[in-house]
């Protein structure tokens, strides 16, 4: 594999022209399909991992379906019927089949199917994570740009240090501090998250959402503002900023029209990586504030060794992460036309 010299034409269309072939009809579509394909492969690998974990369970999958009370004969019969005495790869196919049908097994303890438990809880976790994310971005993006413009001045250093401290604080400690300050000592915010069953019920008690969302948002702001600052710094020294200024564009408009969009690209890419971290954080926050979302479901399942729920959650969250990454990639391709297919 040798490096490609600059003399090679930049776009696939030009390359194809050199090669004498017709260029691909719609490179953007091709790019989308490729990304979706890659996402599917990743999901596939995730199912393999989950399946491997399933095999490692004490008692095997039979318990997951029949429940803890099953007798040895029931288990043996179940295993035979369901094909658990068949070779591993056959089992995997059956497993995939069940997944595609939406069957994630039966909870040991909750007296409902895993799928039901998850569908009940997932939207609430998404709401919490989504709110934290939006608030974090709204704050972090301008802060990052501000820091880049005032590089190495007092404000920049202070903000960077604050960001590092915030980033180094485990979210449960942060949550506990917030509870101690705002709930215990100042008494202005409730420490318990909304307990409603539906999204509407949750949103009916917005003041209960403040502390959990804040706990989730602060570490995100710390992280995103660092990336935004670094990206904005890189872009500020680029030639096109100089060209924009040479046109007589006022500096403020240079920032909003030119710098912003180009600096967002790596931050959006980061989003993809942050999703698993955010879901992990949600677990802790839900436990701390007693918010009945997927995180709390997962945690109580971990406490009581309710394996079908555990694995079902892992699967669903991982898929959510992959889908989120895919969305981030698509947003990136909208922001940056160079990534729309053709150039690697």
């Amino acid at each position: 594999m040798s490096s490609i010299p600059d003399s090679l034409p930049a776009t696939v269309a030009q390359q194809a022209a050199v090669a004498g072939k017709r260029p691909r009809r719609n490179p953007y579509l091709f790019f989308l399909l490729r990304r979706i394909g890659q996402a599917l492969i990743v999901i596939f690998v995730v199912t393999v991992v989950v399946f491997a974990l399933l095999q490692m369970l004490p008692g095997g999958p039979a318990r997951g379906v029949l429940g803890v009370q099953a007798t040895a004969e029931q288990i043996a019969q179940f295993n035979h019927e369901q094909g658990y005495d068949r070779p591993v790869w056959e089992q995997y196919i059956l497993f995939l089949g069940r997944l595609l049908a939406g069957d994630l097994g039966q909870s040991y303890l909750l007296n409902m199917s895993v799928t039901d438990a998850i569908t009940q809880r997932l939207p609430k976790t998404l709401l919490l994570t989504g709110l934290s994310l939006v608030i974090a971005l709204v704050i972090a993006i301008p802060v990052g740009i501000f820091q880049a413009v005032r590089r190495n001045k007092g404000a920049d250093y202070t903000l960077s240090t604050i960001a590092i401290v915030a980033y180094s604080t485990p979210s449960f400690f942060l949550g506990m501090l917030l509870i101690m300050i705002f709930s215990q000592n100042l008494g202005i915010l409730p420490a318990n998250a909304p307990q409603g069953e539906t999204i509407a019920a949750v949103l009916a008690e917005p003041q209960r959402l403040i502390l959990p969302v804040l706990t989730g948002a602060i570490p995100l702001v710390a992280n995103f503002s660092r990336y935004m600052r670094s990206s904005a710094l890189d872009n500020l020294s680029e030639d096109y900023i100089r060209t924009a200024r040479s046109k007589g564009t006022p500096f403020r408009r240079v920032l909003s029209r030119h710098l912003l969009r180009n600096s967002l690209t790596p931050v959006v890419a980061m989003l993809g990586y942050q999703l698993p971290v955010m879901f992990g954080g949600a677990l802790v926050i839900e436990q701390l504030f007693n918010y009945p979302g997927m995180g709390l479901l997962f945690w109580s399942a971990a406490q009581s060794s309710d394996f079908p729920v555990l694995l079902g959650c892992v699967l669903v969250i991982s898929i959510a992460t992959v889908v989120g990454s895919l969305l981030a990639d698509i947003i990136q391709s909208v922001l940056d036309p160079r990534t729309r297919g053709g150039i690697a």
Binding site: V18, D239, T243, R245, P250, F251, D336
Partner: protein
């Protein structure tokens, strides 16, 4: 200052924070309406700093004093940004050196030009876009309405530079400052852009200050020239006078260092009767026969060169010229065994290179040395110069004792005219020219029979280039290696090589003795190429321009 002056610089001094010396020390300069003034110098002369000062675009770490007036009365030095924003683009605008990075990659071309319009007029979005399309047509971009919706990455370097020119013209400024506008472009594209600039100046009466290190560009375009060195103007005057009869010693050195091109006849093949003849070497050091090769991009094979027949004999100095996309770098990589040929024969010292693998192929490579273009990247920053030079010894001459290796390194440093203590220093302690010489020493460590030099001096100043080439020439005389010298600079090729190969779009267009090809090119493309190279001799340059115009009509 008369009403005709569009740019007046008086006693400009610029200093950067943290440095004692001044980047610019008292420069006086003026440009009138419809006039082209060239500001010439090598790196470190302060010419770019001067141009940025005129736009008020110096970084905050710089302090400027003196006076710069643009238009007829607007002072630039010490003015607040708000006021300067009103001047930039409207009274004075700029064209930059690197077209590939000068445009916002996520904004359409039309929008970027329209922005310049809307900054200074009350035009609506629609009106501004219409004007943008007008300007695109004016600078020579066909199919402008469709192109206006495209993004910069869909255009070539030359086309992007035209867009930058369109942006600079958008509000009809009094003066345009062009900072090395054609340095990053191919020679033929450069000639087109210079044509465009000349036309625009004549038609609109805009003043143009062009900054360049290329005396050929000066002779082609400028009415007057200012020569800068170490932050000061050392000579100025009408371009023709300064170029033919320089008074200052520095100007004289600068002009003398430029590799010369012989006067050429542009009659073509019909006039001369058939292609050039040359004797194919009998026992070639390297032989390519019918070679085709390409690169793998995203899984597909994109062809880069086809049907290459090239041979270099022992001690022969062969030049390989072409513009970007010609495939000349590809050929050099094939010669080095870095890129496999998809078909054809490749013989290195009589051995079939493309059939050898692994250790036997690597052992053969001891007979080949390589020098690259970029002095910054060609040496491992974590190894001393001595270690880098000794690397070929470490690979192929393992039996050599450490003392013997050190002695050899010292020998080589002498040969490239560097002090012996250079061996213990790191690359970042050396200048570009010195690093290239270290690279040369490394390439010759095992006295190879073939040296592949891929644009070794393109990134260097003219005077430094002259030094490095002189070293190369004397080494060749002493050691007698065959050399494949890849370059886009025909003057350099003329001075160094015996035979030249001209490439275009992956194929060989013309081949022959250097003096033959450069004096009487047969193929149309070679003629175009030669006619596009600006000569520092204004009279010769006028002839060239006429010849080029004639060729373009064909």
């Amino acid at each position: 200052m008369t009403s005709q002056t569009v740019l007046q610089i008086d006693d400009l001094r610029v200093r950067f924070a943290g440095r004692d010396d001044f980047a610019v020390r008292g420069v006086n300069l003026d440009v009138s309406k419809g006039e082209v003034v060239a500001l010439v110098g090598e790196s470190g002369s302060g010419k770019s700093v001067t141009s940025f000062a005129a736009m008020g675009l110096l970084p905050r770490t710089a302090t400027a004093s003196g006076s710069i007036r643009v238009g007829s009365e607007h002072e630039v030095i010490g003015q607040p940004d708000g006021l300067l924003d009103g001047l930039r683009g409207r009274v004075v605008s700029m064209i930059f050196q690197e077209p590939m990075t000068a445009l916002n990659p996520t904004m359409t071309l039309g929008a970027q030009i329209a922005e310049a319009v809307r900054n200074h007029t009350d035009s609506s979005k629609h009106e501004a876009l219409e004007r943008a399309v007008e300007l695109m047509l004016l600078v020579g971009i066909p199919d402008a309405e469709r192109r206006a919706r495209q993004f910069p990455h869909e255009l070539s370097g030359g086309q992007r530079q035209r867009i930058v020119i369109a942006i600079a013209l958008a509000c009809e400024p009094d003066v345009i400052i062009a900072d090395e506008p054609t340095t990053a472009l191919d020679v033929t594209v450069q000639a087109e852009i210079l044509d465009l600039l000349r036309r625009l100046v004549r038609e609109r009466g805009t003043g143009l200050m062009i900054i360049t290190h290329n005396m050929g560009v000066v002779s082609d375009l400028a009415d007057r020239v200012f020569v800068m060195r170490h932050g000061q103007v050392v000579e100025s005057g009408p371009a023709e006078r300064v170029l033919t009869n320089p008074t200052h010693e520095y100007t004289r050195t600068l002009l003398a260092a430029i590799p010369a091109l012989p006067p050429a006849a542009f009659g073509g093949a019909e006039a001369a009767g058939g292609p050039h003849g040359f004797d194919a070497p009998e026992d070639p050091v390297i032989l390519l026969r019918g070679v085709n090769a390409g690169y793998r991009v995203n899984g597909r094979l994109v062809p880069a060169v086809h049907d290459i027949d090239l041979a270099i004999g022992a001690g022969e100095f062969v030049g390989l010229v072409g513009e970007s996309g010609s495939g000349k770098s590809t050929v050099s990589r094939i010669a080095l065994g870095l890129l496999p040929a998809s078909s054809g024969e490749l013989m290195l010292l009589g051995q079939p290179m493309n059939r050898l693998k692994g250790r036997s192929a690597r052992r053969l490579l001891r007979e080949v040395g390589v020098v690259f273009q970029d002095p910054g990247g060609s040496l491992d920053p974590r190894k001393t110069a001595g270690e880098s030079i000794a690397e070929p010894l470490a690979i192929h001459a393992r039996g050599m004792s450490r003392a013997a290796k050190r002695a050899r390194v010292a020998e080589l440093l002498d040969a490239v005219r560097l002090p012996r203590d250079a061996a213990s220093r790191y690359p970042h302690e050396f200048s570009g020219g010195q690093r290239q010489r270290i690279g040369l020493a490394r390439a010759l460590a095992l006295t190879p029979r073939l040296l592949v030099a891929d644009e070794p001096t393109s990134a260097l100043d003219v005077s430094v280039q002259a030094e490095v080439l002189e070293v190369l020439r004397s080494l060749h005389a002493d050691l007698g290696f065959g050399c494949l010298f890849v370059s886009h600079d025909l003057g350099v090729v003329n001075e160094l090589t015996e035979r030249v190969v001209v490439m275009r779009r992956g194929a060989i267009v013309e081949q022959g003795r250097t003096s033959d090809v450069l004096r009487a090119p047969r193929e149309l493309y070679t003629q175009e190429l030669l006619a596009s190279v600006p000569s520092p001799d204004p009279i010769a340059q006028r002839e060239r321009r006429a010849a080029r115009a004639g060729l373009l009509e064909k």
